[in-house]
Subunit: 220 residues, 2 copies
DNA sequence: AGGCGCTTGTGAACGAACGCACAAAGTGAG
DNA sequence: CTCACTTTGTGCGTTCGTTCACAAGCGCCT
């Protein structure tokens, strides 16, 4: 389930606060979900709670981590080190959550050779070699949109089977490759949509179009 | 609907290629969705297609933009100008999609006063004033996690009603405020989950736990 | 003008996910 | 030991979203 990472985050926060036991109600509110849903999600992993008591935080952290495959470190390559790639490479949240950035690759001659987050940026030509050398299964695409599809195909050909795409394009991949997309302007557009809803609900939907047409007809 | 921005992206791409008309089938495959779903989504906006022909690209771009509230420019404030905030401020995709970054705010004295993407970074103290001055309704939080909730509350108090949150925390807001969250490590964790599935499906679920327990019992 | 082929818009069936509400199971006090 | 209280795990009804399949509508060709 896609909610497990959220639970894991809430659980690790609790663990840091030295909380040893948590009820589904508490954890659910920390994660922002319904408590019944949370219990159902967790029961899918097995019965790790104690009735009348709750869940043992440390034990649950371990179980969820295991289910997510975070008991091992996943090597990751970042392709494209513009502002975003730079930010990603320096983001500390990865290392502590089961991911190890092992290679940085870029096409720009000015960027190649520089050191970012303790790693030297290599030219795009060496992409396949880096992937094979580190046994990388997860690739992050932070390139401009026009080259994203090409990079994607090279990653897949080199053996990468999961891709996190920040470029604003729909990537075409074989069925067995998993792609997730993060697109900031799409998120903003969704917010704008709701903003507009708040401002003028009367200006929306097909009903309003009918009204608008009527107004047009009258004014003509 | 949350898919409208994806359609809009596909449509603008088509418009740039001087395509004048598109069928639901074509547009659906460009957006990566089922064609019936796409037609239903578009029909929600009204009947903008022509049977036997398809949709007029330019007209549809306008209608979708209008529905999303992108016919006007939304002023935006970015709080926190670390690597990520920097990347966001410089991201060109916003301006062309109906958003105008109007204010940059940070708490770090070394960052305050510097110019990023043509805007001077102001100290966090001036947050409320900037929001009011520009009539900002959308705020972007790119701060460290520990201060995100506090920033969020200040934004809301100043009048912001939509928030895009990059900090890895669950923000608590009044019901009328819309929050969207972008969390890169959660996306990676979901990929890791699927990766692990591919590698060893036999190592998962409650069945496997039962098997593991059995193995334990036998070896004891 | 009429018929043919194509594409939209939508009714209806299907399936997944959500949440209520409760039984089962554990704890602790008396 | 029993009873009252707490919290998990889950059966079940409901709601939401997706997809199929087809009638309605439009343009073009004859």
């Amino acid at each position: 389930m896609a909610r497990l990472p959220i639970y894991l985050r809430a659980l690790t926060t609790l663990a840091e606060e030295a909380v040893t036991t948590v009820s589904s109600e508490e954890l659910a509110s920390a994660a922002g979900v319904n408590s019944a849903k949370l219990r159902k999600d967790l029961s899918y992993l097995g019965s790790y709670g104690t009735r009348g008591v709750g869940y043992d935080v440390d034990y649950l952290v371990y179980q969820v981590s295991r289910e997510l495959g975070l008991t091992q470190d996943w090597p990751v390559v970042i392709v494209g080190l513009g502002h975003l790639g730079h930010a990603l490479a320096n983001y500390g949240g990865f290392a502590s959550r089961g991911f190890a950035i092992r290679a940085l690759v870029d096409a720009d001659a000015a960027t190649v050779g520089t050191e970012i987050a303790g790693l030297r940026v290599r030219h795009l030509d060496g992409l396949e070699e880096e992937v094979r050398k580190h046994g990388i299964a997860i690739g992050v695409i932070a390139t401009p949109a026009p080259v994203a599809q090409e990079i994607c195909e090279r990653l897949v050909a080199a053996g990468v089977s999961s891709i996190l795409n920040f470029a604003p394009v729909v990537l075409v991949v074989p069925d067995e490759v998993e792609v997730r997309k993060v697109d900031m302007s799409i998120e903003l557009q969704i917010l704008a949509f709701h903003e507009q809803r708040k401002l003028g609900p009367e200006r929306h939907g097909r009903l309003n179009d009918a009204v608008a047409e009527l107004a047009d007809a009258v004014s003509t």
